[in-house]
Amino acid sequence: MTREMGKPLAETRGDVQEGIDTAYYASSEGRRLFGHTVPSELRNKWAMSFRRPIGIAGIVTPFNFPLAIPTWKMFPALVCGNACVFKPAEDVPHTGHVLVEVLLEAGLPPEVIQLVHGVGEAAGAAIVNHPSIPVISFTGSTDTGRVVGEVCGRMHKRLSLEMGGKNAMIVLDDADLDLALEGVLWGAFGTTGQRCTATSRLIVQDGVHDEFVSRLVQRARAMKLGDGRKPGTDVGPLINQDSVAKVERYIDIGQKEGADLLCGGRRPDGSALDHGYFFEPTIFARVRAGMRLEQEEIFGPVLSVIRVRTPDEAFVVNNDVRYGLSSSVYTRDVNVAMRAMNELDTGITYINAPTIGAEAHLPFGGVKQTGNGHREGGWEVYEFFSETKVGYLDFSGALQRAQIDNYLGTPD
């Protein structure tokens, strides 16, 4: 996986572990898939709901978690009884290939899984547009997700979208700065900033701003770029040349907007890295709320630092973006922490932990333009991949009318 995706081995192992955890969670869900049995309003009548499979699920996945994200989607879809047509990202097709081999070795009937490689514009679009695929689960960019959403809306398909993020870590004056420093380095530069939940904004309160940013820059400069398979590598490459070009565009945008480039901002020197898509960990300070650098998803190792005076101002800055996936607050004040949980407009909020690190058994997803209201992971995804059906069983032997047809007989 590291060879085709680039992330360091420790992260690849985490990706595989997430897949394993998801497999076991899904396995146990096969013995639940709960419905409800509730009292009927009539005598000698039962009322219940249960879950049915939908049909063929179209699974279109991104490059950044080549194993974990396909498992988040496919395993629940399969346990619910659906067949899958799976298109992995064209940058990581080998991991998709291996995942299908594993499913077959595990005994999945072969026609339940279909693997179709290719690019989004062709194979992906064909899946999304196919009239016999009633349910689509897509993770990728907001722009592509909008197109997918339009098609699925027209065709009345069930759709789960996981898209962009502009996730912020908030460091308040009373934070444990050592802890916050480790958190932001991991959140911003882990997976080369290519996680949906990556920390791309750092909102720091006045009192600790200068000290914290200074320490952060020092540590970021010391991060080792390299082949993810080599020991000691902290940061792997970006996924491809387009990604490098996009990051370079935003470096230019940030400088034109007047932000201070404190470190990085370029491809590294060094012959060992010449043939890869490496980019130095980059930090901009004096970023103001509303700049494009602060608003738009870059999907690379670029961190924008915004200075604020109060926790409330930090919350406003956090919320003033069109995305809402993950947020993080470092503070020792439990009141502020709990208020942040309520006030931050994101699907996930971490207290004293970075913006990354979702666990397989909890719902994952975002608000606003990050998603469309569905969640992956945890128990909620099983509702997405199944239909609720209600069954009534009348064993009275007589025609009984439910309240909706019998209102005259109901006393006020």
Binding site: R3, A23, C80, E101, E105, Q114, L115, A122
Partner: protein
Amino acid sequence: MFSRSNQTTAGAGAARANITRALSDDSEASGPNYETMKTFDNFIGGKWVPPVSGEYFANQNPADARDTIGRFPMSGSADVDLAVESAKRGFEEWRHTPAPARGDVLRRVGDICRRARKTSPI
């Protein structure tokens, strides 16, 4: 993009070796193309099959773009049509399989991945 030149039809043993190598994350980092570039196929209708177009794309190592991992099918709507026809049959079989038995398949998936990781050199 490449024209199809050969087809990989990995047997179960080869598939297992492939799984172990991939989940253990590969081998030692070395120079580009340390392994003969393979051609991979779609899995449609219960078989590994080439794309209808016969066209493939190269999958490169982002840490060293000279290192090509393999060639993968450039599929289109004709491939998806075939996949859907097969998936309809798969769905009919699968939806009648009891959910706990469906879950058992995924438990075995977890077991295979754990084993593959344990046998890795890392």
